[in-house]
Symmetry: C2
Subunit: 225 residues, 2 copies
């Protein structure tokens, strides 16, 4: 039995969450990775999350089925809404209503069962798509909620939501990941990746990722179709 | 098309949420009921929620599968933890970690897709089991989070979490429900109800419900086994 503190790390299979997991491990946490099958168009990112969780020595990795497609309203969960292939203004249609709130809530539930008080999420408020639930004020509000919502909080424990990437550029995130030996060839960022994990090269997520590798001066291992 | 405002109402199939739905409807909302198959020991309360949603003229009723049993840690989701049959002190083992946080988060996601800004939840801080996520301070913290978490919130809409039962005694809740013709024989409160919805009569939830009917001076339609 390790005496290290435990952390629940949200793991999507993308570049940001893989780097977040590496940073949580570097900080000395025993990591419990949590992924969601939430009605994504592609399951390749879940396979990526399994590879990453294994490669990074997580203590446990759970994937929760969560059919957000029942609600619709996002290009990521509703097949009738196309994923944009050009930049758009404002909050894009790939925004999944309340997604990070839902994911953090479930991470909180697991943390409480594990006796963990640390959650990690790879949100970023610099090179991002303008999602409201990636902002620092959202994260602080969730921490406050967590302390009121839980038995552990009532008993005086304090939950922390760690966002080690929140002020980093995509290039800085990539540099951190390379320093920590993250295998970015195992990660999938594309909103429309095909079954074998090959990226479209055109969606918001592909564009931001490619620019990040260019800015970092690093080789981009992304496989395009 | 009705011009009434829309509300998402959390509906468990129990007495409190059925009364909450009746109160939301009385306030003029078009009601969208949301239930969860969250690894409960019994599915009878989900059947009850379907009957209630239909009887009360909801516009839509969705049931989301959510396997909180993967986390364990509660007598309601983990078959290895027995449901207590005697009163206990402190927060009981029937507490499901972060349950109301998870349920409200998903209600928020659906509300945003629907263009609704009103959520209803039948929490009660008087005759309750001591759950932290039934307290007014938790509800206020969730409202604050909702306004930061969502596209609608960023665009200036204000979400409200309505808790019409929060300061009512169980007897007062029952009197309100009877005034609004709630069919309490269709509701299931017991933590260990059998397949046909018959109650154990011994768990916390059964004891609180039975005392409520006695205090209200109303006939208790609960079927015991």
């Amino acid at each position: 039995m390790s005496g290290s503190p435990k952390a629940v790390v949200l793991l999507s299979g993308g570049l940001d969450s893989a780097t977040t997991l590496a940073l949580a491990r570097e900080q000395g946490f025993d990591c419990y990775a949590l992924s969601f099958a939430y009605g994504q168009r592609h399951k390749t990112e879940l396979r990526a999350s399994e590879r990453i969780a294994r490669a990074m020595g997580t203590i446990d990795h759970k994937t929760i089925d969560l059919d957000l497609g029942k609600f619709g309203g996002s290009a990521l969960t509703d097949a009738s809404i196309p994923v944009p292939t050009e930049p758009t203004s404002g909050i894009p249609v790939t925004y999944v209503p309340a997604r990070n709130t839902v994911f953090l809530s479930l991470a909180l539930g697991w943390a409480e069962v594990l006796g963990a008080h640390d959650l990690f999420i790879g949100v970023n408020a610099v090179d991002y798509s303008g999602y409201p639930d990636c902002r620092p004020e959202f994260i602080r509000a969730f921490e406050r909620l967590a302390n009121l919502a839980t038995k552990a909080g009532v008993e005086g424990e304090r939950f922390a939501v760690h966002t080690p990437l929140i002020t980093l550029s995509k290039a800085d995130i990539i540099r951190e990941g390379i320093r920590l030996d993250v295998d970015y060839s195992a990660t999938v960022s594309c909103y429309s990746a095909d079954e074998s994990g090959r990226a479209c090269g055109h969606c918001d997520s592909c564009r931001i990722r490619a620019q990040g590798f260019t800015d970092a001066g690093e080789n981009d291992p992304t496989r395009y179709r």
